[in-house]
């Protein structure tokens, strides 16, 4: 008990939708840490992400009725250099030994370095990314992984807001429609002997 929660919102900028989705989840995570009085550590690799993350955490602490528990040290900027950031976060993991590591957002080659170090410290790890190349690393090294679109659905799912949940349902319908269209047109192409057959 009393060990910290580490939240890494990826290494991308605010221009990346995955980062925005990650910050939405951070808001809900911060509410929980504020409620239970758990220390929260949020290292960031982009100055704009740092500013937004700080506001998100501050608002969440206020919404949870614990504005006094928020301090400037929770969210901080580390560096925008990929491996320097990985080294700094690895250092935080080994020194502070957080009980939970959230690795949610956009990651590149540093994903496995972070996830394996976290696994070595014995933390429960929850990862989420839409970077397909990094998903196998997270699935291997983390306890729970949000795969692709689950990253975007997660914040709506946690917040339980009807409008946001409705958007997820619409996405599922769109996916079903796209699948039907792909299957139907593939069958039509095969049936009508279109030039597509020459490529098969």
């Amino acid at each position: 008990m009393g060990r910290a929660t580490l939240y890494v919102p990826g290494l991308s900028s605010m221009a990346d939708v995955a980062t925005i989705a990650s910050l939405n989840i951070l808001g809900e995570v911060a509410k929980k840490t504020a409620q239970f009085g758990t220390p929260l550590i949020v290292p960031t690799s982009d100055p704009i992400v740092y500013t937004v993350a700080r506001e998100v955490v501050k608002e969440s602490y206020t919404a949870a009725g614990r504005p006094d528990a928020f301090h400037q040290d929770i969210v901080f900027f580390v560096t925008d250099q990929q491996f320097a950031f990985a080294a700094a976060v690895d250092g935080i993991m080994t020194r502070e030994k957080p009980a939970t590591n959230f690795l949610i957002g956009m990651f590149w080659a540093e994903s496995l370095i972070l996830a394996e170090t976290g696994a070595a410290t014995g933390a429960i790890q929850i990862a989420g990314t839409d970077a397909i190349a990094q998903l196998p690393f997270f699935i291997t090294a983390c306890d729970y992984t949000l795969i692709g679109e689950e990253l975007y659905a997660a914040s709506a799912y946690i917040s339980r807001e009807p409008v946001l949940l409705g958007a997820i349902k619409a996405q599922d319908y769109a996916k079903a429609l796209i699948t039907i269209i792909i299957v139907a047109f593939s069958l039509i192409a095969l049936g009508l002997n279109l030039p597509v057959l020459k490529w098969l």
């Binding site: 605010m14 221009a15 939708v17 995955a18 925005i20 989705a21 910050l23 939405n24 808001g27 982009d46 100055p47 704009i48 740092y50 500013t51 937004v52 998100v56 955490v57 608002e59 969440s60 919404a63 400037q72 040290d73 969210v75 901080f76 900027f77 580390v78 250099q81 491996f83 320097a84 990985a86 080294a87 020194r95 502070e96 080659a109 540093e110 496995l112 370095i113 996830a115 394996e116 839409d130 397909i132 998903l135 196998p136 690393f137 291997t140 090294a141 692709g148 679109e149 975007y152 914040s155 709506a156 917040s159 807001e161 409008v163 946001l164 958007a167 996405q171 769109a174 996916k175 796209i178």
Partner: protein, 222 residues
């Protein structure tokens, strides 16, 4: 009002970005280029001040509180200040020195020298750790604990055999089978995930532009 202004800015820039993508009119394309490159660069330059401020504040606070491992914070602050001074006053290029001399005899401490001889090797060291982490992760993944892990182990085994000359000796069609695993089931599942990701990006972008999703403002849906 504190919330309304950012929402209006997001709505206008979001709609403009989407329109500019479909409208080939040069004036709109130019304005879009300026927004994407120049405006974004200016904002990033200003935000860097916030970033540096955050690092300094974070580490000074640690030193003041004598928090755990606080002496490391001195190293960060000293390195930041020295590098900034050399970078600002030492000139951009080794051939064009600034007001600060960056060479004592044969010893150079120019910003480019520091970058090439400290930052690059340190980053390469971190990157090379990946090889060891990969082997430990592979060991964990390949333990056949359940059906999925067994399938993963089997697929990886076939792929590895298919990629080396031994695979051809075992069966002449093994490399082709390994290639098929990569090209068909692997690509199909990747594309399935991609469909979901693209739809998720589209839906989230729309929610942000229309102000339905306001978590990034720090106030949840309120």
């Amino acid at each position: 009002m504190q919330r309304r202004i950012p929402l209006i800015i997001v709505l206008l820039t979001g709609i403009f970005g989407a329109v500019a993508f479909f409208v080939p009119y040069p004036a709109i394309r130019n304005a879009d280029e300026i927004m994407r490159n120049d405006v974004q660069r200016i904002i990033t330059a200003f935000s860097l001040v916030l970033g540096v401020g955050s690092i300094v504040q974070h580490h000074l606070l640690k030193i003041r509180r004598k928090a755990q491992f606080w002496p490391y914070s001195y190293i960060t602050i000293v390195a930041l200040v020295i590098t900034a001074i050399i970078g600002v006053f030492g000139g951009i290029d080794v051939t064009r020195p600034g007001v600060l001399p960056t060479r004592v005899g044969n010893f150079s401490f120019h910003i480019q020298t520091i970058y090439s001889n400290m930052m690059v090797p340190l980053a390469a060291t971190m990157f090379s750790l990946l090889a060891f982490f990969m082997s430990s992760a592979a060991y964990r993944a390949f333990r056949a604990r359940n059906l999925e892990a067994t399938l993963l182990l089997l697929a990886a085994f076939i792929l590895m055999l298919g990629a080396v000359p031994l695979g051809r000796f075992i069966h002449h069609r093994l490399p082709a089978f390994a290639e098929w695993i990569l090209a068909v089931p692997n690509t199909a599942s990747k594309r399935g995930i991609l469909f979901g990701v693209e739809l998720g990006i589209f839906a989230t972008s729309l929610k942000i532009i229309l102000g339905i999703e306001r978590g990034w403002l720090g106030g949840g849906g309120k």
